[in-house]
């Protein structure tokens, strides 16, 4: 989904910006929910399901707002269930298979810490409804960060096996961290009208939090300058997103008029 520069209005930029935020959260929530009934302990099972529901809730609120701004008669389900893979603008980081428990924790930690700094920037947004949403969700994100950070420390500084496995997870995830900080004209317009975050402002702070956590967990920080994946903000994805969408969307698409009674 590439947008021709001259036609990019403020409204389009706002919609694209909200969709990027929402897609990250929906796709990651869907991935996390795969742990439901499979986490290593009952308590952790609940924690994972809680975080999954939180992130899907964040996405729902954002999609609802997109529907309102777009004003074309859609509801939030339209954006979740009736768009194809190239229309989704979530980070590739969010769509990768859940892997082992360490991989899920490593991914969630990287994402939640990024979200934390992002939402801290956005909480003063000019748009009242958007700002309200951000402030509400920020509280939950703080908890996700706390929960996953503790787990990174436990696994990294745990047994030899847990250390090796979460180290491997961070190594594998590293090339997907670059595009978290991708910015284009959508961000420029949003920053200008007071509703967007300048990601470069907190990149160093985020890196420091990640590095400090990994060091404390006796893990090695991978090379920041290695090859990084790109493209997700414009709809370019890994092979995994299509399969995820197939599973997530097939029911809704098979019975488009079905209703909860």
């Amino acid at each position: 989904m590439s947008i021709p520069t001259k036609e990019l209005t403020e409204k389009q930029a706002f919609i694209t910006y909200l969709l990027r935020l929402a897609d990250d959260r929906l796709i990651l929530g869907q991935r996390l929910s795969e742990w439901c009934g499979h986490a290593p302990e009952l308590e952790e099972d609940l924690a994972m399901a809680n975080i999954a529901l939180d992130t899907i809730g964040h996405a729902t609120a954002l999609y609802k707002y997109v529907a309102e701004v777009e004003n074309e008669g859609h509801d939030e389900d339209h954006y979740a269930f009736f768009r194809n893979d190239r229309d989704f603008t979530n980070l590739q980081l969010c769509e990768l298979p859940k892997g082992d428990f360490g991989f899920t924790i490593a991914r969630q930690f990287l994402f939640s810490s990024f979200s934390y700094f992002l939402y801290e920037q956005l909480k003063e947004a000019a748009d009242e409804q958007f700002r309200g949403m951000i402030n509400k969700h920020l509280k939950e994100i703080k908890y996700h960060l706390r929960h996953t950070r503790e787990w990174v420390l436990r696994l990294g500084d745990g047994t030899e096996e847990s250390h090796d496995r979460i180290q491997q997870s961070f190594d594998d995830l590293w090339m997907y961290t670059g595009e978290m900080f991708y910015m284009d004209e959508v961000d420029e317009i949003m920053i200008k009208n007071g509703n967007g975050a300048d990601l470069s402002l907190f990149r160093d702070e985020w890196k420091k939090l990640v590095e400090d956590t990994l060091n404390e967990a006796t893990l090695t920080v991978p090379d920041w300058d290695q090859f990084m994946m790109t493209g997700s903000r414009n709809g370019v994805h890994t092979e995994y997103l299509g399969h995820l969408l197939a599973q997530m969307q097939f029911m809704r698409r098979s019975y488009p008029d079905a209703e909860w009674k």
Binding site: E44, L46, N50, Y143, H147, R154
Partner: protein, 101 residues
């Protein structure tokens, strides 16, 4: 308690106490498994505080709780039965005070 557990791989048990409102006493909510205090706190939050049940949580490893035994029941509690003067129920309470409580 955890040392006596039949399954040695099981995480230690923690008792959870939630405070429904600031100023109210903490009440026993249940128990969770966890490897450390921070995890116990987080698990307690996810299991017992997800529907607005409280404003504060205490966790304590179950093994640190000393409990009276069923055999203690007689000597501990029976003597109270025939001492009604320990209950301040013979005084009439002014209506204004009643209303407040």
């Amino acid at each position: 308690m955890s040392e006596n557990s039949s399954n040695k791989n099981e995480w230690p048990l923690w008792e959870v106490f939630t405070q429904p409102k600031s100023g109210k006493p903490h009440q026993h909510a249940g128990s969770v498994h966890a490897v450390d205090a921070e995890m116990a706190l987080q698990n307690a939050r996810d299991v017992y505080a997800r529907r607005n049940e409280g404003v504060n949580i205490w966790v304590v490893e179950s093994k640190h709780i000393t409990s009276s035994t069923p055999e203690d029941m007689g000597p501990f509690f029976d003597p109270a039965n025939d001492k009604p003067y320990r209950h301040p129920q013979f005084y009439s309470v002014p209506r204004a005070v009643k209303k407040r409580s």
